[in-house]
Structure formats: C-alpha cells, structure tokens
C-alpha cells in the first residue's frame, strides 16, 4: 500500500509539468495581441505597450517565459495580472467560492441521485422507476444554462422564494439552487448508474445467500448490496468534483458567483497565460488527488481489490 501510494505520488510530477506547459503554450498561441483591443477603437499608446511588454517579459520566447514562470512558481510566486493584481490573491478568493458551490452540487447529486438509484434499482419497472428514467433523461437532454435560467426566473424572480443571485458571503441556503443546477446532469447519470448497478447485483449469489440466511432486508441492501454497487458511483463522484469546479463557469455567471470560471475566461480572452496556468494548476491538483482518493476507496469498498 505504501509503495503504491509513493508510486502514484511520483507519477503526479510529470503529469503536473506536462499539463502546466501545455496550458501555458495553448494560451500563448491564442491569436491576438493582448494590447490590441485594450484601448477600444484606437491603438494603445506605444509607451503603454512598451511598459507592459517589458514588465511581463512578453518579448521573450515561450521557453524563457515558461521557465521564468515555473521558477517563480516554485518560490511561491504566482505572478500578477496585467492590471497588477496578485494571481495568488485571485486564487485565494475565487477558489473557495467555486469549491463551496461544487461541494454543494456534489452533495445534492450524491444524495438525490443515489437515493433515486437505489429505490428504482430495487423496484424496477414501477411508477417511480419510469418517473426517474424520464426525468433523468430530461435533465441530461437540457443544457445547463437552460435549466439555470429557467429555475432562476421561476424560483427567484417569478415566485420570489430565493434571491435570483447569490449574495457576496455565499450562505449555503442560497447555494442550493445553483448547486442543483450545476449538479443536475451528473445527478441524472448517478441515478442511472446506481440503478443499473443495484439491479445487477440484486441477482448476485451473495445477495441470495444473505436473504436465504434470513438477514433483514435493510441489512442486505445497506451493507451487502450497496457497498458492492458503489464502485462505479464513487468513480463518477470522485472525478466529478474536478469537472464541476472546471465546468461551473456557466452556473457562476447566471447566479453571479465570483468563482474561477470567470477568471479563467477573462484571462484566456486577454491572453494572460500566468493567470490561466495559476488557476488551472490548482484544478489539475484537485483532479489528481481526487483520482488517487477514488482508487484508494476502491480497496476500502471491495476487499477483493488490493494494492501491494
């Protein structure tokens, strides 16, 4: 187990360097001069462009720029944006917001998705099963901005039950609606995967044995059946945290949440590699760590899986 963990952690190093360089290079190759559109319908004065180019080393080659960036990064310096703002400061303020939203979304999708999956998996072809199948199909088919705008208008503006946008200190109650919107598609997938997995394992030998042994149904489902059926669901949930954080840009926009989505978008449009890489680096770390956690969870859920 220890050696496995070490090997996995060492693997993170090349992945980390590879992704950061790739992202840096991609943003660098976005067409457009960062200062061409900055002053509106007239060119920026030369002195302004010269001062900015000098300050952000924009005349250096991509290799030198990337090396300088990495050197500073390892000293804990994320650099500054063109407007002079510390990128570490952007990360510190926007990440907690996105994380909070993603965790709320993840909890909603886990609770609702899993319950729906278990209930329908146990009683297939009933009314509830058909209802869940149709409603999940609906959620998967609708793009997230449609769900977002419709629910915001209906619940926030028309009925006035919640604030249409989230206020600055982000109370959990106001995050429920955006969390539901963000997690809606994954919730549908989780319900469906859980349903199939439960239905399949329901016919497994060990379930029949447990029932024949006279164990109460609650224990059969809760301990034997659920634990074995969770592996695909956990895989989905684990990788989903990263996906939710990276994909929250639409939801953040609709509900006015100050998260990483808008920062990345703005940085890409204005060609600020350092900002994009700074934010995405943390996202990459989230992905890698979550993947590792999921793999370790497998062993805990299913004793047949062992890591030497």
């Amino acid at each position: 187990m220890g050696r496995y963990l070490l090997r996995r952690l060492l693997q993170l190093v090349p992945v980390f360097i590879g992704t950061t360089f790739l992202i840096y290079w991609l943003v660098w190759s976005v067409p457009g001069d960062p200062f061409a559109g900055k002053c509106g319908d007239r060119p920026c004065p030369d002195n302004y462009v010269a001062v900015m180019t000098e300050k952000y080393h924009l005349n250096d080659s991509i290799w030198v720029q990337y090396a300088t960036y990495m050197k500073n990064l390892f000293q804990g310096d994320f650099g500054t944006t063109f407007s002079g703002r510390e990128i570490s400061d952007i990360i510190m303020t926007s990440y907690p917001n996105t994380l909070k939203l993603a965790v709320v979304a993840l909890s909603i999708e886990a609770i609702i998705g899993l319950s729906a999956g278990v209930l329908t998996g146990l009683r297939r072809n009933g009314f509830l099963d058909n209802l869940v199948l149709i409603s999940t199909l609906f959620l998967i088919a609708l793009p997230v901005f449609v769900i977002g705008f419709v629910l915001q208008w209906l619940i926030g503006v028309k009925l006035g039950i919640v604030r249409p946008t989230v206020s600055n200190d982000m109370p959990i109650t106001e995050l429920l609606l955006p969390g539901f919107v963000l997690g809606s598609a994954s919730m549908a997938y989780i319900a469906r995967v859980a349903r199939t997995s439960i239905a399949e394992n329901r016919r497994a030998d060990y379930v029949r044995t447990a029932i024949a042994k006279g164990l109460p149904m609650r224990r059969v489902v809760g301990v034997h059946l659920l634990r074995n059926s969770l592996i695909p669901v956990v895989t989905l949930l684990g990788t989903d945290l990263g996906a939710l954080m990276g994909g929250a840009i639409v939801t953040e926009g609709i509900f006015g949440i100050n998260g990483i989505g808008r920062q990345v978008l703005r940085a890409i449009v204005t060609k600020q590699s350092a900002t994009v890489v700074g934010i995405v680096v943390v996202l990459v770390l989230v992905y890698l760590v979550m993947n590792l956690l999921v793999d370790l969870l497998y062993a805990a859920l299913d004793p047949r899986i062992r890591y030497e």
Binding site: D41, P45, D46, G84
Partner: protein, 546 residues
C-alpha cells in the same frame, strides 16, 4: 476613450466606444424624501475595473464611472449634453487660445483632507504625459508645449527590438505654476477646444500621496469629487460613500453606494426586477425583445440617447475602396431606418449626420450619403465601374454585432448586386490587431463615443490625416487644412463653423458610413424616487434621492 468590458453582449457592449468623463448635475430638490435619502444606501451594477483606479490610466467604463464620481475636474459637462461649465476652475482665461491662465477655487479638499492646489494639476499631468509612466491616456496631453520632450516615440514600434529613447525632460515646459491657485498652460499651437477637454478624466488633479506610490493609490484612490472611496473587493464589489466636505456643488443626497460587480448582465437584471439591485445602466439584450423590459419595470424603465455612433469604415488603403463614388453607392444602398427598427426594436436611431447630434457643434442631417436611395446607388456603382469580388464586412463576434452587420450585408447585396458577406472575427483583440496594422481587406465595424462634448472630437481623431482612430487612413488635404484652422480658431463658435465646412467635404468623400446613433435602456428600483443620467448615460450619483 473608454471601452465597455462586460463579458456578455449588451447592446452597447462591443468594447468599441470612446467615453467621456462626466458626473455633474443641475440637481434640483423637488421629490424624494430627504429623511430617507440622508442615510440611504443603494446598490448599482458595475464591472470589474481593468486597471488600478488612476484617472489617466482608465480607458474602460467599469473603472471609468467610478473615476467620474471620485473626481471633479476643472470643468464638467452638464447632463443635458450642453457646453461645459466651470467646476473646480474659478476662471479659464485666454487671449489667443494658446496660453491659458487657469485659476482654481481656493480651499477645496481632497478626500484625505489636503487642499487642492495648482501643482496637483501640473504634477498629475506631467506624470501622465511622461512616457515611462505608461499611462494609457498620455496622448491627451499632446497639445501642451513640451510634450515631445517627455514622451518619446519608439522608433520601430513597441514590438521592435529598439526601445523608445529616454525622454529629455520629466516635465512639460508648457505648464507653469504661478501660485497655489493659479497655473498657466501654454499649448504648442492654438487650440480652441482645449478648455472643453479639461473635463475628461485624464485631466483630473491628483493628491500628493499619489506620487509616492501610484500602484498603491490605484487600489485605494483619493479624489476630490462628491463621492469618497471606501473599499474594493476584486470581482465582488466596490464600496463608496458621501464626501461630506465637498463644496463645489451639491453633495450626494444619499450616503452609501455599493457597486456590485456582475459578470452577466442577465443576473444583474434579475436582481433589478426582484428588488435586490437599485440601478442597471444597460438592461440585457434578451429583455429588449418585445419590450419585455418595459413590462417588467413599468415607469422605472428609462430610455435615453447616448453620444455614440455605430459606423462601418472603409480601408481606404485598399485600392478597391479608393473610388468615392463606390463608397457613396454602398452607403446609399443601406436602409438605416429598417435596421434600427427591425434589429434594434427602435432603441437606436438611424444615423443622419457625421458627428453625433447630441454633441455641441454637430449639425443634424448633414450626412447626405446616409440617405436610402437604391436608384442613385446603382447609378453611382455603374459610374464607378462596379465592384469586383467579394465585399466583406467584418465585425468582432464577441459582442452583439452579428445581426445588424448581416442585415447591412444583405441590403448591399439586394440593392447593388455586390456579393457582400458579414464576417465575424472571434475576438475584439484579433479584430483590432488587424485594423491597427492596416491589414483589413474589406469594410469593418467601428464605433465612436466622444471623449469630450465637442464636434472636434468627432473630426480630428476620425477623419484627419494621422488621427488617432483614422484606421482607414483617409486623407484629404482640404479636410486637414480646414480642421487645422478650426482647431486653432480663436473662439469655439468660429471653430464650429470651420468644422462644418470640413464636414461638407467629408460628406462628399464618404470615408466611412455612419449607421446608427446609440441608445441606452436603463432601469432603477422602486427605492429610487428621483435620479438623472449624465451626458454619457452614467448614473449621476449626486441626483439620486430615495
């Protein structure tokens, strides 16, 4: 010039307009409950300022409107769009429009309690003009004698390996402090419009603390206007409050203002409709269709006009566009009324003059090429020998320009038989890069909003050889000569007369095609009982009553 930077596409968005400083009102006192107003607080919408809040380095609307509230300049522009009036200036005297003696009102205060003195102006202007400061508005000081000594051109452009030589001087020779309340400005040539320019944000005074650490100042600005800066939480909100020692005009009638930073104008609009936001300067495009915004807001909906013009410009440097009959033919084939009615739901007006008619000195209806006359257009096209190949009309696709540009292309195609297509360029940055480099191969979208209210700002930058936004490289010696005469005329009236003559020649040459005049659709909450918009459509914060 200021650029709107909202991520999604409101009508006025398009990162395309020059915008002017303002923030003045003829506040009158009827209506509103003085008690509720006195300690009242409002929340209004905004965007994250692109740069630290330094007046000479702010060129977009997000930071621009905050600057306008924090600072009061020598002159200010009335809300009704009329001629500028003295604000901080006691008097601006000149005999020849070349040497100006400026007296400022004594004992007005900056927000940190220090007194506004003449040297707060000269030092601020010298800082902004000094090349190595890298201020975006440096060129506004080019009229002043000695500008060439503090601002040096890069011999091979900013991308070349050579650097701009170190400027010879740090201060412009044309600025001279006489005493604490008087200074003298000498221009390199007579410029009648110079006093008008003084209300633009680049010309604001800066307190002594600025010069110690400009970067720190930008995050914690100290102005001399009716509104005092409190705090700025990036991407979240900017808090402002009333400056109680303000003595130049009416103080703010309410106490606190929070500028909430939205990334999406629909989110802001939903907050406005449900009462969580008190003012939105431009409601989203989606609410304009079918007059939805008027139904939602009732009498809290405000439709106004702004001194902006949507233009399609020709690249005169391209051989195919050098025949003026061809340019006129294309312009005459566009039915502007139909475009403003069908695409903009009547929220913008068809353009019929070269300078926006809201601007002092501009004459309505002086664009004969702006009429819709498909018959004459066809004759002129034949006279010009037709047009070979494809006529592209480029626009930046990151804002809402697709619909009207395609409508224009369709009209040209139908009325003239030219193979016209609208082409979207993905981002404004790429779009402007090609325009700045004079590499356009077809007509392209442009827009203009005045920096300061005078017809001069619509002619010199756009149609004079070497003008800062004359991207099509239009050049007519007659126009240049008349514009020069107009700029250096001894009085504003004579200047306007000469500009009118220049416009007549421009109208014959059709270097570009004015298409529409800008409009703005704003809304406020039930809480606000009384408010006015400034000459450029920003909220006049001193007029707000609850």
């Amino acid at each position: 010039m200021r650029v709107s930077k909202r991520a999604s596409g409101a009508l006025a968005v398009g990162a395309a307009f020059a915008l002017v400083a303002s923030g003045c009102s003829s506040g009158n006192n009827d209506g509103g409950d003085a008690g509720a107003s006195k300690d009242g607080a409002i929340v209004i919408d905004g965007t994250q300022p692109e740069n630290p809040l330094v007046p000479a380095n702010t060129t977009e609307t997000g930071g621009g409107k905050i600057i306008d509230w924090l600072f009061t300049g020598l002159v200010e522009y009335p809300n009704n769009g009329g001629a500028p009036q003295n604000a901080l200036a006691e008097s601006i005297d000149t005999k020849d429009s070349k040497v100006f003696t400026i007296k400022i009102k004594p004992n007005t205060k900056f927000h940190d309690g220090t007194t506004v003195k003449a040297e707060n102006f000269t030092k601020a202007w010298n800082w902004a003009a000094y090349g190595p400061s890298g201020a975006q508005n440096a060129s506004f000081f080019s009229d002043i004698q000695g500008f060439g000594d503090v601002f040096t051109e890069d011999p091979d452009g900013p991308d070349g390996p050579k650097k701009a030589p170190e400027p010879k001087a740090k201060e412009m020779s044309g600025l001279k402090v006489i005493d604490d309340t008087t200074f003298e400005v000498t221009l390199s040539a007579p410029t009648a419009v110079f006093p008008t320019k003084l209300g633009y944000s680049a010309f604001m005074p800066l307190p002594d603390v600025f010069f110690a650490d400009p970067a720190k100042f930008g995050k914690n600005p100290i102005g001399n206007g009716p509104v005092k800066f409190v705090s700025w939480q990036d991407d979240v909100e900017i808090k402002l409050t009333r400056f109680d020692d303000y003595s130049l005009r009416d103080k703010m009638k309410i106490k606190d203002v929070t500028v909430k930073i939205y990334q999406d104008d629909t989110a802001a609009y939903n907050d406005l409709v449900s009462g969580n936001l008190d003012f939105q300067q431009q409601v989203p495009v989606s609410s304009l269709a079918g007059e939805k915004w008027k139904n939602d807001l009732g009498d809290r909906a405000i439709a106004s006009t702004t001194p902006t013009t949507g233009i399609i410009a020709f690249p005169i440097y391209d051989k195919r566009f050098q025949n003026k009959d061809l340019r006129r033919a294309i312009s005459l084939s566009i039915n502007r009324q139909e475009i403003t009615d069908k695409i903009f739901f009547g929220n913008r007006k068809p353009a019929d003059s070269w300078a926006n008619p809201l601007t002092p000195g501009a004459e309505p209806g002086n664009c004969t090429a702006c009429k819709f006359d498909p018959e004459q257009a066809k004759q002129l096209l034949a006279k010009a020998g037709g047009f070979k190949g494809k006529l592209t009309l480029s626009y930046n696709a990151d804002a809402s320009h697709k619909e009207w540009m395609e409508a224009v292309a369709q009209q040209i195609k139908t009325n003239l038989g030219i193979d016209a297509v609208a082409v979207g360029v993905p981002t404004f940055a790429v779009f402007r890069q090609n325009i700045n480099a004079h590499k356009m191969t077809g007509a392209y979208r442009a827009g203009w909003q005045q920096d300061y209210p005078d017809v001069e700002n619509w002619i010199n930058p756009l149609y004079v050889t070497g003008g800062s936004s004359n991207d099509g490289l239009y050049s007519n010696p007659e126009v240049d000569a008349l514009a020069k005469e107009a700029s250096s005329a001894p009085s504003i009236e004579e200047s306007h007369k000469k500009f009118a003559e220049a416009v007549k020649i421009i109208d014959q040459d059709v270097p570009s095609m004015p298409i529409y005049f800008g409009g703005q659709q704003s809304g406020h909450s039930e809480k606000i009982k009384k408010m006015e918009l400034s000459n450029v459509g920003e909220l006049d914060i001193t007029s707000v009553e609850l």
